[in-house]
């Protein structure tokens, strides 16, 4: 399908969606900008095998599913299962920290993307360690170290208090705002804040499995297993949470202390599939459309990532094979609109988004130039960077 045809089809779908929210609402609604996006392989090369290599970032193996943390100097720090690497602005990948034991343990399927964050206040890089928070200490001619700044390795728990006395169980997400305040999603259950040397827990009801909006202290989530992450939002007092097993995205207004649901249609009542309405059948089927009524995620909502350049929230489930964003109250497909997994040029650069096929995927980061970092644990693994070719240069 040509880009022009795709654009036309997308416009027609959007028109239909907005006009009637009818029963013929298509599953995939391309964003109007979809045909302008392209995807480059950024780091990793799945034909290189599982052994880590160093050199040109697109030629190295061993990254598997990984994360990305764009830094102010133009480099990108990549957390992967074996440690931490850096891609410099010239595109060369070197290892920073190889001892994966110091980082939060990751299995091959689980993304470590949310476990690294840069603090603009103290200009330090913070890492999710096992039962602890660490800070990267870089040496000019030796491996970096990851020193503990909060919690105790090997001592899991949820105790609040001073940094050294607090305990953490498993840091699944780390978010740092411009004031240096840190927010941690701990073991997919508790949202914890580190401010002025103190750790506090913001929500109280855990493991309820329900979807309750309202005051943060009483709000409920259904975060199971190892899905779900926390990300920053459009200001220092906004967080977004992929509420995995509620199949929705939650917005946390820290100033008001309130939680609202911003994407993901409600789970339909327990009627038989053949008795469901067309709208109900869209649940758990990764459908685009109006965010709270017709849009859905597949196998839960697994990730959220705020895009400050496009003022949109990238979000999706683990089995969607495409990348969507929440913008202006609608969920739309931006990348991977017409996937053909057997034909897409896996390791090329400048791939039109309708040819991109990445399974078990996530948007793991965005950068200040409008770049969007994509990762997947299927084949081919590694890290990609998508961008709108009309807006920015590679």
């Amino acid at each position: 399908m040509s880009r022009m045809a795709l654009l036309l089809l997308g416009a027609l779908w959007l028109h239909a969606a907005r006009a009637g929210e009818g029963e013929d609402m298509p599953k995939i609604i391309p964003d109007p900008s979809a045909s302008d996006w392209v995807v480059d392989r950024f780091a990793g090369n799945s034909t290189a095998g599982p052994e880590l290599l160093q050199g040109p970032a697109r030629e190295v193996g061993g990254l598997g599913r990984c994360g990305a943390c764009p830094m102010p100097d133009g480099s990108v720090v990549i957390p992967f299962a074996g440690g931490l690497a850096e891609v410099d602005p010239a595109g060369t990948l070197r290892v920073l920290l190889e001892d994966g034991d110091m980082l939060q343990g990751t299995t091959a399927q689980v993304c470590a993307h949310a476990g690294v964050a840069y603090s603009p206040k103290d200009k330090q890089l913070y890492l999710a360690g096992r039962n602890c928070l660490r800070r990267l200490v870089v040496s000019p001619d030796a491996p970096a170290r990851a020193e503990v700044v909060a919690g105790t390795p090997g001592k899991p728990g949820f105790d609040d208090g001073p940094l050294a006395a607090a305990t953490f169980t498993r840091i699944d997400s780390l978010v740092i705002n411009s004031r240096g305040t840190m927010f941690i999603l701990d073991h997919n259950e508790r949202i914890r804040r580190i401010e002025d040397g103190q750790v506090t827990t913001l929500n109280a009801k855990v493991r309820s499995g329900k979807r309750t909006d309202g005051p943060l202290a009483a709000a409920t989530f259904a975060l199971i297993g190892l899905g779900g992450n926390l990300c920053g939002g459009d200001d220092d007092d906004t967080l977004y949470l992929s509420d995995h097993w509620n199949f929705c995205v939650r917005r946390i207004d820290l100033r008001k202390g309130e939680v609202t649901t911003v994407a993901g249609m409600p789970k339909p009542p327990g009627v038989k599939p053949d008795a469901q309405t067309p709208q109900q059948k869209r649940f758990n089927a990764n459908c685009d459309g109006p965010a709270l009524t017709w849009a859905s995620f597949n196998s839960g909502c697994a990730y959220v990532c705020w895009d400050p350049v496009h003022r949109a929230l990238w979000c999706g489930g683990p089995d969607e094979n495409r990348f969507r964003w929440l913008k202006d109250g609608e969920l739309r497909t931006v990348i991977g609109a017409k996937p053909d997994q057997h034909k897409w040029p896996k390791d090329a650069i400048g791939v039109p988004t309708e040819k991109v096929y990445l399974s078990w995927n996530a948007v793991v980061a965005t950068d200040a130039k409008g770049g969007v970092y994509l990762s997947c644990s299927g084949e081919p693994n590694g890290l990609w960077r998508a961008y709108n070719a009309k807006e920015v240069k590679p």
Binding site: L53, P56, D99, T107, D141, N381
Partner: protein
């Protein structure tokens, strides 16, 4: 009389073994090297009465200047080069992933070298049995533009065959290559083998076998192809072991039977989709074709060719995963592999790694429970093995104790 001789041979093995395996005390190879406490990725070969152990000395990541070091260890376990041997001094970049073989009266050490600061080349240097480096300038086995990496080497007794993976032109996918290197230090032309990624190679007296491991997360497999003495492939690589994720494997010769390939199965995951963990053996016959199962769907019980089994996730659980090593020990193969203790909230974190051994006949373990080779509170990883031909072996490995400190150590192993 024969038993008495065996007793005398293995008398220095201080640690008692189990079954037919005796494990000696740990030998540190280079106590105060220039690598500031970082030694990694060891390999070992035996020739002319001694082992040559090679490893990466120093930090190889950003800001690093790692070099390839070597040390000889006598057949009875004495470190003959306590200060180590720097194989290829140079000013810039890092050297890593060393491999070694013995043939034609010399050891050939190969490694990948980032001295140009942009991409890796495959270089080599010969070391005499007396511990002298014979090539002041390294032999350029593969120094074309773009990444040429992950070399492995074997010998047919006269010369060597080096295999590696490399990128050509503006292609995005790696290709597998081989090139002969003579005992005199002359590298021949590269031939494409099809064996990639991470090729390994072994000689059985008539042919080389190159084995490679797929990078596929869901469908990774180990494949093999016969190569001639010049590296020319007899065909395309064919599957040897399937059902693995991120295939990591070892290869050794089994006289008169072909080759032994050992590879792990799936990692532990919170959902159990990958099934149980295992360390598995497969035999490739002299014709280059596998003589054991290639595919395993989702077995729930230990299969006959599984040397180790990932137990239920819970307290005390262990999981075999990662690099292994094997060598022919006279009557059987000896295999050493990584066994991790599991921890974490979902019992999917690797908490501590030990090295376990078993004698293997065909694909069947003669020591089903496994014999500990190195099982301390530190992590012992990345084993490599070489045999002296009389039932004695040297196992070398990384021993890391956290905070980035890693040493290479060795233990003698005797097989009865």
């Amino acid at each position: 009389m024969r038993h008495l001789l065996l007793l005398l041979v293995f008398a220095p093995l201080a640690i008692g073994g189990e079954g037919g395996i005796d494990v000696g005390e740990e030998l540190p190879l280079l106590a105060d090297g220039p690598g500031k406490g970082i030694q990694a990725t060891p390999d070992v070969a035996f020739g002319d009465g001694a082992y040559l152990v090679v490893w990466r000395e120093g930090w190889h990541g950003k800001g690093g200047s790692a070099r390839i070091y070597a040390a000889r260890v006598s057949a009875d376990g004495k470190v003959l080069d306590p200060k180590g041997i720097e194989v290829s001094p140079c000013k810039d970049g890092v050297q890593e992933q060393p491999r070694v073989a013995f043939g034609g009266g010399v050891f050939l050490v190969v490694w990948q070298d980032l001295r140009n600061g942009k991409d890796c080349d495959v270089l080599a240097a010969r070391v005499s049995p007396e511990g002298k480096v014979l090539d002041a300038e390294p032999i350029a086995v593969a120094a074309d533009p773009r990444t040429q990496a992950l070399p492995a080497v074997a010998s047919d007794g006269q010369g060597f065959l080096v295999v590696w993976q490399g990128l050509v032109g503006d292609e995005a996918a790696y290709r597998g290559f081989a090139a002969p290197v003579s005992a005199g230090g002359k590298a021949g032309a590269a031939i494409e083998t099809g064996a990639t990624p991470q090729p390994k190679v072994a000689w059985n007296g008539k042919n080389y076998l190159a084995v490679c491991g797929g990078a596929g997360f869901w469908a990774g497999e180990v494949r093999s192809v016969l190569l001639g003495a010049d590296g020319k492939p007899a065909g395309k690589p064919i599957p040897v072991l399937g059902g693995t994720k991120a295939a990591v494997f070892s290869l050794s010769v089994v006289p008169d039977r072909g080759w032994l390939v050992v590879s792990h199965r799936s990692p532990p995951d919170p959902w159990g989709w990958g099934g149980p963990g295992a360390m598995r053996a497969a035999v490739v016959g002299p014709d280059g074709r596998p003589a054991s199962p290639v595919k395993e769907e989702y077995p729930q019980a230990r299969l006959p060719h599984w040397l180790d089994f990932g137990r239920e996730k819970g307290k005390g659980a262990t999981w075999p995963w990662g690099p292994s090593a094997s060598a022919w020990a006279g009557k059987h193969s000896l295999v050493v592999w990584q066994r991790h203790h599991l921890g974490g909230e979902k019992w999917t974190n690797f908490e501590n790694c030990n090295l376990i051994a078993a004698r293997v006949d065909g694909v069947t373990s003669l020591d089903p429970a496994g014999v500990p080779v190195a099982a301390s509170d530190a992590n012992e990883r990345r084993p490599a093995l070489a045999a002296d031909g009389t039932g004695g072996l040297l196992c070398v490995y990384e021993r890391s104790s956290g905070e980035g400190v890693s040493r290479v150590a060795a233990r003698r192993i005797g097989v009865r």
